[in-house]
Symmetry: C2
DNA sequence: TTTTTTCTGTAACGGCCATTAGGGAAATAT
DNA sequence: ATATTTCCCTAATGGCCGTTACAGAAAAAA
């Protein structure tokens, strides 16, 4: 019986290159299914997305899901990682590619305004919203650690800026970093609550006024 | 059978004064039970708190809960209202009691840092976190409306400040208000993620730098 | 072709969810 | 005292949860 598209036999790009096994190959593209799972978890959160929801949007049966991704927890873990590389990388890029700490943070905030309101996909940030009030503490903690790591990365970039002489030596790097993290997370919440790209860009621009004069 | 404390016969203070009915009075204090429900929903969110959890912390059976508060939805609605008056009123007080818009917002942010990290109770704001990724859209929307109403109240106070000549007439009141809302919501998230009162106060103080010089 | 391996679909598992029916207990009113 | 009203406890409801046994289909290897 072939009631679903039997496309992409060869295990889509980016999948762990299995040694071309002997049996029947899976009939769905793993990466495409993972993308659907990302969107579902992004929009409805970890507990708001049932396995039933997942099998529906991924277009596969429950046994196929468990065979390809393990249980719900490990699928979510993979989703979070893939989200980071596919949708959350703007943050790291801003921090590494800009010449000054100030420019890095300004770009990070400006791009967040666009990313969090991009049409055709869920608003806001998966890492901020997908595991709030989670019955499974490990899941909630995993995203909390990512958020705190993000703040730490911002502080580390700011410290580098201070070391480079861009900023006064007495600047409170920890407070500046936490402020940036709070603004980003607040922008994500605002995006979920209906704020537009332009409104968030105005917030981002305002937030940069806390920096010492350039 | 009397296995629970039979205190507070007279329907606690603040309860809707029933006409002193004829039958057996309820054996628990409604306000105390409601307070326990507030704490439970505050910490674990609407869907993260089961009716089973509620009956346990409230110290009553499920039928008593349904008789006294209606179903889970209406209990949550009452919880949100009571939370607003018992724990969330600092915001309105700051907006109405201070002489200038700037002082009002500064106090609001400063007090949020303390409220959101108060020991002995859940961190952060119930309105921000208790209905994220909710399977019941009405519940999620009800808190969203409260958040947006809060931003609107801030903007209204800022506009009054402009009208009073405290601020330049060309200030972007909407952006300033949304920025304040985003910072508060971000502070709430940071409090949930482990930030201390002092760290949040530093964020609040930084955030006030976006205001035009006083 | 036959054999072997893996995937897929059906259907079920126990467990927790929110909610409530029903009977007996408790307290007031008479 | 009895009658009346209301509450509380036990236990159950149907429904969805995440997960998996099982059987058969499909494709590769021999």
């Amino acid at each position: 019986m072939v009631n679903r598209q039997a496309a992409a036999r060869q295990a889509g790009p980016g999948s762990e290159a299995r040694p071309r096994g002997r049996g029947r190959p899976r009939s769905f593209d793993r990466e495409t299914a993972l993308e659907k799972a990302i969107l579902a978890f992004w929009e409805h959160g970890y507990e708001g997305t049932s396995v039933s929801d997942l099998t529906e949007v991924m277009g596969i049966g429950a046994p196929s899901l468990y065979a390809a991704f393990g249980d719900k927890r490990s699928l979510f873990a993979e989703v979070v990682t893939a989200y980071g590389t596919r949708y959350g990388s703007f943050s790291d890029r801003a921090l590494t590619e800009e010449r000054t700490a100030r420019a890095a943070v300004a770009r990070m905030l400006r791009e967040a305004a666009a990313e969090y309101t991009e049409p055709g996909r869920p608003h806001g940030c998966l890492v901020v919203h997908a595991a709030t009030n989670c019955t499974t503490p490990e899941v909630e903690d995993s995203l909390r650690e990512r958020r705190n790591a993000n703040v730490a990365a911002i502080e580390s970039r700011i410290k580098a800026g201070v070391a480079a002489g861009e900023l006064p030596a007495d600047v409170d790097t920890a407070a500046l970093a936490r402020h940036t993290g709070a603004v980003i997370q607040g922008m994500s919440q605002q995006a979920r609550d209906g704020a537009t790209k332009e409104q968030l860009e105005a917030v981002a621009e305002l937030a940069m006024r806390v920096w010492p004069c350039p």
